[in-house]
Symmetry: C2
Subunit: 345 residues, 2 copies
């Protein structure tokens, strides 16, 4: 019996998570889902983004399924840093795993790529870098104001995520691993990443490895995405690269992710890459596929690879069936995918 | 009489700068060009990336034309930080101006855009942020190593570049200005940028303004590039976004830039966005268009807007004439563009 915590969150997060839950119910009958009402409403009610008691309850689950958090009524950063990033950091979810795949039938904005040609994995560090929340402001609001942000990087943190990326790359057919950073400008962190990478990959002689600056990688992702297999990179670069990856594979409505704690000392968390999209919330037109594929990643994490594959196949069938330009109806997509999963196609 | 300092630099930098100089000779007969041999060879010879005496000489010129610096023989960051960024910082080139335009006849990797549809300007801050060189390493090489990078942002620095971006946007047809940052995570610097932006744009009521997170902007640049007019952003985000911009407008071989000191207290510097490309150096196949358009930006800066337009028109004609897949011969491109400029077409 798996205990899954569900955080629908805000906006379309709530809508797409309902569909992911429909699918989970048939893919993993053997689970309990407990809903946690976190996000803008909880914050408005309690003044807290993540009450300590709720965090303790969450810690007691096997995995977390999250929709999206964020609302115009809440100041920038409050829910992101107070809830989403707090969970990633406190639950030590150091592998932020983001597959990029152009599914058959899905249109890429890139003219020359065909489905199957884009199939890579971004392993984004999840607990360090510029996301640490280090930095400050002095002379705020005056002409002398100074604001800083500090990127904190440890050998410990870099080594473990690079090693994980190596292990994932070693399981893949092409066995290629690319480190992305900005060693020519960020010489301190860049050197730590590069030296650690060079040492760790020595334990994986079967891998082909290379290094790219983040600016070059951003360009290559548009002009030669088929060359990537596994990318390992820091927290901020991973944030940017995975949105480019989403764009070239048919949009943020399809991009899934897992914030994974491979040591299992705390629950891992699975969430679509997209946000709460207040502009389209409440209309029932958000694509739930990203949330459903995130649920498939959750199944993988619980050791249910076969069920995960069934969910992914059902999503693939749904995508292949879509007519170009056909509007998405959130609940209908969930119904169809759940029905296909139920037939275990 | 304009005194122009020329730094060919390394690799293809030397090759493309020769062509830009050919064009400058005909576009601006009334100038002297003084070459400075900086880059990997100077560093190997002297152990210095930028000798103080050379820097003083450079300061005495009306503008600098730079090819590219960087060579595998020199460690990461040495020439970048010791020469390129040192000039940008010491010469207070706070406006790093990077136009993105899909020229007629040039193929974009994006399926749905047509030439003319992509035409925007990235105003990248050039003297602050993560490029400040603040940060350090302790316990280097041990399992306890910590490496930091600090982003330094001042009200002074943000305000001046935002104001400049507003002025540029006000001159354009669409008068749209987009601030790009990551205010939901980098709350200190993000808040400074957002508050400063909100205040400065009040002086420009004719502008339509908005804000985007850098990850969203990276995606939109691929999936709706035609929506951008002027983007203002910090140093690192600008670095990444302008490489995406280059990718969608036909590649780094066409992307020009100016590192501009609008106060004219020091010379401004004009350079292609591409690097020294050691892999193709010496073969005469690098596209000099980016360098030549950078020279056109230099002409603009010297108040020779008409000459600049002639150069750009000659480049446009060259690009429109290219057959798809036709290999570029660096010197021939320079010859043709220079000839067209000479006829003042
Ligand atoms: C919402 C935001 C804090 C988050 C991030 O920057 O990590 C999002 O962009 C993502 O990619 O999951
Ligand atoms: C070479 C490097 C230091 C430079 C930068 O990061 O600014 C380059 O990428 C650029 O965009 O001009």
């Amino acid at each position: 019996m798996h205990n899954i915590a569900v955080i629908p969150g805000d906006g379309i997060g709530r809508e797409v998570i309902s569909e992911a839950q429909k699918v989970l119910e048939v893919a993993l009958p053997n689970h309990t889902a407990t809903e946690f009402d976190l996000g803008a409403r909880c914050y408005a009610r309690t003044g807290e983004a993540l009450p300590a008691s709720v965090q303790a309850e969450l810690a007691d689950h096997d995995a977390i399924l999250l929709g999206a958090v964020g609302d115009p009524s809440v100041g920038p950063g409050i829910l992101e840093r107070g809830l989403l990033l707090k969970l990633r950091f406190d639950f030590d979810q150091y592998v932020n795993l983001r597959p990029a795949r152009l599914w058959p039938g899905v249109n890429s904005p890139l003219a020359e790529v065909k489905s199957g040609e884009i199939d890579f994995l971004v392993v984004r560090e999840g607990t360090e870098g510029l996301y640490a929340g280090a930095g400050g402001v002095v002379q705020r609001g005056t002409s002398a104001e100074v604001a800083t942000e500090e990127s904190l990087n440890t050998r410990y943190g870099v080594e473990r995520v690079v090693r994980h990326a190596c292990q994932l790359a070693a399981l893949r057919e092409r066995k290629r691993l690319t480190l992305v950073h900005k060693t020519n400008v960020l010489v301190n962190a860049g050197s730590l990443w590069q030296r650690t990478f060079d040492e760790v990959v020595r334990d994986f002689p079967e891998l082909t490895t290379d290094y790219q600056h983040v600016d070059a990688a951003s360009m290559f992702m548009v002009d030669r995405p088929e060359t990537y297999d596994v990318i390992v990179t820091d927290n901020l670069f991973g944030d940017i690269l995975t949105d480019i990856a989403a764009a070239i594979t048919g949009g943020i409505g399809l991009a899934a992710s897992g914030c994974i704690n491979p040591d299992q000392s705390y629950p891992s968390m699975f969430e679509p890459v997209h946000g709460s999209a207040p502009d389209i919330a409440g209309q029932g037109i958000a694509d739930p596929i990203a949330a459903i594929i995130s649920a498939a990643m959750l199944l993988d994490h619980l050791g249910r690879a076969e069920d995960a594959d069934i969910v992914r196949r059902a999503c693939a069938a749904e995508l292949a069936d879509r007519k170009p330009g056909q509007p998405v109806r959130t609940a209908e997509v969930g119904d169809r995918v759940a029905a296909a999963v139920e037939k275990r196609m």
